[in-house]
């Protein structure tokens, strides 16, 4: 059982992670459903969700992770589940930023309802990130050694 002093940090971490994963799932679903649409509505919806929901969720998740790690004094711990968490948080964050940049450039370059390769690349990264975070959630629960 965790001490209560750590619970608030864990709550912030989990809430941020839920918003992040939810934002990624929403963005990926909209992008995949609207993949071959002539109209760009769902692709724009996907990008906006990535920017307005998933990215702030990542910031809260990461801040909560660092906070709970310092509260539990795990900064120098050599634990497999913590390593998986770090890879997912930091690597996933980097990929999310790349997806946002690609999608942003793609949105600017696209004319009207024209499908843009950069926007599609951004959607593929978002879908890949959903898989990455499913593994991370499993690791946080199963705590493999």
């Amino acid at each position: 059982m965790r001490p209560d002093s750590i619970n608030l940090a864990v709550f912030v971490h989990v809430l941020g992670a839920m918003v992040l994963v939810g934002g990624l799932v929403t963005a990926a679903a909209a992008a995949l459903i609207g993949w071959s649409d002539e109209a760009a509505g769902l692709r724009r919806f996907s990008y906006r969700t990535l920017l307005i929901v998933a990215f702030p969720g990542w910031i809260v998740m990461f801040a909560g992770a660092l906070w709970s790690e310092s509260k539990e004094k795990l900064e120098n711990a050599d634990l497999a589940w913590l390593g998986i968490g770090h890879i997912a948080a930091e690597g996933g964050g980097l990929l999310l930023i790349i997806a946002l940049i690609l999608g942003g450039i793609g949105q600017r370059k696209s004319r009207g309802d024209d499908v843009n390769g950069l926007v599609k690349a951004s959607s593929i990264i978002a879908t890949f990130l959903v898989a990455v975070y499913v593994v991370a959630i499993w690791a946080m629960g199963a705590k493999p050694t």
Binding site: F11, G22, T26, G41, L42, F45
Partner: protein
């Protein structure tokens, strides 16, 4: 088992985020065509929340029986089950409101009526109550009051 319980909880959370984005975007829709486009992603949320609600309860109960640190009659677990039931009931009402609206949209219903229902506070408040109950469950699961 905790990993599966967590994955099921994240499945519900993902659906709630998806529905929140839909509720927020729905209030800004201006045409029936835009609304139809928005409703196309709804079934993904339906699958996630349908599977998540059942599995989170199943894995939670198995966890309570199999883990020596917890008992099914612990106060915070009973509170969690009551909140879960309330969440399912309010969520079902929210789902019915938006499913009816989706049917109206697909049957080429009156555009003004569809947009008015999307902007009406009923659906948004029901959804807010569903999200609020989920956050309460999350607080209960993390803080485990009385444990």
């Amino acid at each position: 088992m905790l990993a599966f319980h967590l994955l099921a909880a994240f499945s519900i959370a993902s659906a709630l985020v998806l529905f929140s984005v839909m509720v927020y975007s729905g209030r800004r829709m201006t045409t029936l065509e835009e609304t139809r486009m928005l409703f196309r992603i709804g079934p993904i949320g339906g699958i996630l929340i349908g599977a998540g609600i059942g599995l989170v309860f199943l894995f939670g109960v198995i966890l309570a029986f199999s883990d020596d640190r917890f008992d099914i009659w612990d106060g915070w677990i009973i509170a969690g089950i009551i909140l879960w039931a309330a969440f399912a009931a309010v969520g079902q009402r929210t789902g019915k409101y938006y499913t009816d609206l989706q049917k109206l949209t697909e049957q080429d219903g009156n555009e003004a009526e569809v947009l008015a229902r999307l902007r009406a506070p009923t659906g948004a408040l029901l959804h807010l109550a569903t999200v609020g109950l989920f956050v309460l469950i999350l607080l209960d699961m993390i803080f485990k009051p009385g444990a």
